[in-house]
């Protein structure tokens, strides 16, 4: 599963602008397979956490209403260039992925 996730973090003044692109099908569990007519089981990211230099900045819960290959943007005041951003997600099947980036 664990396809790479992309993070970009840039400083704008004293605010770090973090953009994350996750790779995930985000199946709602309500969609039917076009060929078999069977419902495609729900498979979606439930929990996303972000830390900067180890300190939590964001803890997000996703429902099935988040689009496929979720995009997440957030802003954090205070970090410096070179600080490390780490983003983790866990989906409803227990799959997880993690990626990190340096604020530039």
């Amino acid at each position: 599963m664990a396809e790479p996730m992309r993070i970009r973090a840039t400083m704008a003044g004293d605010v770090a602008d973090v953009k994350v692109l996750m790779n995930h099908p985000m199946e709602t569990g309500l969609r039917k397979d076009a060929k078999t007519g069977q419902l495609v089981p729900a498979h979606f990211i439930q929990d996303v956490t972000a830390t900067i230099n180890g300190a939590a900045v964001l803890n997000a819960d996703f429902g099935t209403g988040i689009s496929k290959n979720p995009y997440l943007g957030f802003k954090v005041k205070g970090p410096k260039k070179g600080d490390k951003v780490v983003v983790n997600w866990v989906d409803n099947k227990g799959d997880k992925n993690s990626a990190e980036a340096t604020i530039g």
Binding site: T28, A56, D61, S67, G73, F74
Partner: protein, 155 residues
């Protein structure tokens, strides 16, 4: 539209079964699932979702800005940006009111994170996109209508 409704109903039954299995200890929820607000995320209407979030009667606020298209051609990818200028914003929740499952995501902010979230959501039909912000123990809300020409909830 009726076919979609059927699917939603079927989905409800399925989700219920899982909930019972979890309650009976047949399935071991992972830690993440335990933290995930199941009641709010499985609520089928805005009122129940709010209840699940522990929000009662949020005040309308002009300090919450929702940036979303007036018309979304493709309901499966609707860009939504929420900016809260309310001091001490600790969490933001995004709801698409007429989705089968209205609650889209919740975002708890800490450690210097600003009251800003940008995401992309699915919308089944034209509806209000609502943001609920918690700040200083109070709840605030704002909404913006997005017209959807092609629904994106798997229909």
């Amino acid at each position: 539209m009726n076919a979609l409704r059927r699917n939603v109903l079927k989905g409800t039954a399925g989700a219920g079964t899982v909930a019972i299995a979890v309650a009976a200890g047949l399935l071991k929820p992972t830690q993440a699932m335990a933290a995930w607000n199941k009641a709010a995320f499985e609520a089928k209407n805005v009122g129940d979702a709010m209840k699940g979030l522990g929000v009662a009667g949020p005040a309308d606020s002009k300090e919450i800005a929702i940036k979303a298209p007036d018309i979304a051609e493709n309901g499966s990818v609707v860009p939504v940006e929420v900016t809260s200028s309310i001091a001490g914003t600790t969490s933001i929740a995004i709801l698409a009111e007429k989705n089968g499952v209205p609650l889209v995501g919740t975002y708890n902010l800490s450690g210097g994170a600003e009251g800003y979230i940008s995401t992309r959501i699915k919308m089944g039909q034209t509806s209000l996109v609502r943001a609920v912000v918690n700040a200083g123990g109070k709840s605030y809300t704002a909404a913006k209508e997005v017209k959807v020409t092609i629904g994106g909830c798997g229909g």
